[in-house]
Symmetry: D2
């Protein structure tokens, strides 16, 4: 019974490592858990694995890779075979290529993104522990999200990448954006958990990142995050609003390298048998920004 | 890849059918979707299946059965075999024994509760639909929960029922309450989705219901629900507070037959690899009621 | 001890009376309390006076007059004399010129707006009554604000109008916007209650309305209001955000005639001895929209 | 135009000064602003005066005095005369008898409580300042209330003390609790600002304190305060709920000396012309605790 448990980590390319670490620890409120080479490893307070975010110094911002944690070591071989059958090349990345990581299966998505599956990773535990825990840590700083939540990537062939996730990795599609005639797929929202999305794609250039999202608890926390971003003078893309798609409450803003981040709350509980929700292109405005009801140029164009 | 998708329905025994229907539609805000024999069928606005709650007139309150929806018809046979292997007797309940339901596998839990697995059930869709939907329905009434969330049952042998759910139905245990020496299991919180619990047990008499819970969005909605209950003069068991266990925000109250209901918000995202959280009996107060930090007699004793 | 108790009513000019009444009752959720001539009278559920909003059919949108309720009949004569001493002409408007209203003192503000003071007005009581009341009415519809909260007007000479309100009507200034050198007054926020503002002015053409604001309870209610506006396809000016000025949580949108409305929550408690908060023009962005940190053209230019 | 601006300070008797200071700074989140003799002076982050709370070491908990700030120095003489005319003895307390305080008028309320009026007190400013301020201070700790909000005192003759506040100090009565026949006054809620109460009395022994309340912003903040109190193991009296009276959202808990504190949010805007709301004794349960709908013994009996 192979299963993808979650989007376990994202590696972001950043231009200035120390400035980025300061931003992700002080403003976002992640905890630095290690360093190796040009990379810094971080986790959110409610995550128990060693890291969910890797910041790697390079000369161009963007997403270096994303990786999903599978339930057992055997799942690696199972998915490896299915990926190969789909026509993607896989390679094994050996243990400790990155800090605290076990072996991983690497492949390139139909949209050109580097993706991995893994099961083994160091265990650190959450900040509140597993014995009579408090509901949140007194020492939390900044936005203090619970965890990495999802990524939105861009790509040209959304039908193929959607088919890949559904057929190969057993994801389901919670929502999709289509042209009014239903012919073309402009957006695809995918889940393997019971969250409204674990990964999503919108039409655009291959191999690009639209945003990496962190989960907070409530509208109140989204708003508090927005206040904090203003105090720290972080540039906003989108101020507090609701998504039609996922129903979530959201803000978008940029890390020091221009990678877009989201603080996301809410969203419905998805189930494998839920009917896929369709947004037609003429309603894409309210689909993305339920209040403003129109897209902004920056939201469409700023990609890393 | 068999999987239990969710707690799909609960059948509650009620003493006065019309009074109960009025309560569950006007105060809770469910929608009546059909009647058959002594039973009325209801669903929440955000559920797409035909019903999640069946109210059946009898002369003693309590839970008649609970049922889990599996992902495919084949899963029925798979789980049927595993249940039998565990030593429980299964019987097939034929289609349309109840309204809009397909075939089900029936068995009795080690705690004496009647339980079923099923895959087929009528489809009605949510109140907001699946095409360019609004995030919530303007016409929602009462507490207007999104869905049936979980049940808490009582039983004597929690170790065996926990083992049953983990070994047979592939659940995981998110939290547990034990004696201080760790020897005895006093509470067991189980999930097969990514919610903090889909079903839970506390030590007590077999075959009894502690509560059936409905999911609302936020602390604000829990509080609004509490206001509504006062307006409708519904008896409270527990006024707004937080659980240490699950971290959820909660109120408890009683339906006209004395069955306890909960309106529940929040709770963390669970994952199959999360370490089980342990609450020791000396901290059971904050585990159950994080603010009050002590149990109340009514919460322990009122069972149906 | 004369005192201005509150901004008691606003008369808005509207182009289509029935469409406007439908909007203010169904979307905003006010109650129609009477009609007379070309005018419809409305109140919010938590107001006890006969009306706080008058919609009058004309061929140009805008504000016909605003009126403050004074504590006693004697206060009328007291303020009348002070207004005249300041150099403004006053006239008495006789009882029942408008529905349910007693005598009023009329004058024109230094910014050209028609303003009145009054004490007598019909009493209807709030929707929840004054005997063992519930905290909110079950039958509330739409945004369901508690009350009319404040207006923002535009004018050329903000120093004089501020001096008028402080010296003549005993208001205080909670906040002000000035040029960086402090020479020119670009915005002036005034209160006679303990709210962060009861009336405000920004630099602009005389005799114009920027917006009329209604008070809701919380960020959650601002957000719910925003959802409702999208369901009813009401045009937004500003989606949910925080003001730096007053700290309030806010949305702006337009009635069917183009008059801007605000749903406003929060804001601090003001006191007569509070130091006036100064925003310098270079920080006007965060003063107005604390998250976005820049003004929008529509917010500056759309006036009625 | 004399006016009482606010409840400016409360002096609480505490048994262990250092433990009390630790509690009021770390858990409540006030700032220590000075020490003199056996007293420590504190203010909330959003208060601009030198202090609003004085903790004085004695051997019995309770309220040493409460004091109202008047708008001008002349108001002192005005109220002094009115107090004497009512039949209460006044004495002048000279400047700097306590830290940073100007002259005060002292008198004893008909309920036996020591009360003062004052105008002069040192100015410190809020934590966010008065020039382009952020809406809240990043460095806020603990519950971090905006300000001292109100006190509830007990006394035998509520009619006289109510008459005193209305006739002498120009307060109004927002709400009252009476016997069902309306003959006896059991509770009296009084305001001179536009808050739902600035001071309140319930029937009980003279000269006692029921609680001192601190204002927070929202239900969310009340709940966060409750979480914090559990983390710091502060004893609760009342976990999160709503008051029928004032509609506020509330928790009650005890300082290290047994003085009851409240964290209070919400409550309506009061106006001098609002009809006094009456709660009859048979509905006192929902008046005090809108959800539970019954009084608790601890809430009635624990007084200092």
């Amino acid at each position: 019974m192979a299963r993808i448990m979650r989007l376990g980590r994202v590696e972001l390319n950043v231009l200035d490592l120390e400035k980025s670490v300061e931003y992700y620890t002080k403003v976002i409120g992640l905890e630095e858990t290690g360093r190796m080479g040009n990379s810094v490893y971080l986790k959110a307070w409610d995550e128990f694995d060693h890291h969910s975010l890797i910041l790697t110094k390079t000369n161009r911002a963007g997403i270096a890779h994303l990786a999903f944690k599978v339930e057992t070591l055997d799942d690696l071989a199972y998915y490896e075979r299915k990926i190969e059958e789909f026509g993607c090349t896989t390679t094994r990345i050996s243990s400790n290529t990155r800090l605290a990581e076990g072996e991983a299966v690497h492949f390139i998505l139909p949209t050109g993104h580097h993706c991995e599956l893994y099961h083994e990773v160091g265990f650190l535990g959450t900040s509140v522990g597993a014995l009579n825990p408090h509901p949140w840590p007194l020492e939390a700083k900044g936005i203090a999200p619970h965890r990495l939540d999802h990524c939105l990537l861009t790509g040209d062939d959304l039908k193929t990448v959607t088919r890949f996730f559904i057929e190969v990795l057993n994801f389901r599609q919670s929502e999709r954006i289509t042209t009014v005639d239903g012919e073309e797929l402009l957006g695809s929202f995918l889940f393997s958990t019971n969250k409204a999305h674990d990964l999503a794609f919108v039409k655009g250039p291959d191999a690009k990142l639209h945003h990496a999202a962190f989960a907070v608890d409530s509208l109140h926390d989204v708003f508090k995050a927005a206040d904090l971003l203003s105090m720290y003078e972080v540039p906003f893309d989108v101020t507090p609003t609701r998504h039609g798609i996922t129903r979530g409450q959201t803000i978008y803003f940029f890390d020091p390298s221009g990678n877009r981040n989201e603080a996301f709350a809410g969203g419905y509980i998805s189930y494998p048998d839920m009917p896929t929700i369709t947004w037609t292109e003429d309603k894409i405005g309210q689909g993305i920004f339920y209040h403003r009801r129109e897209l902004s140029e920056s939201f469409m164009k700023a990609l890393t």
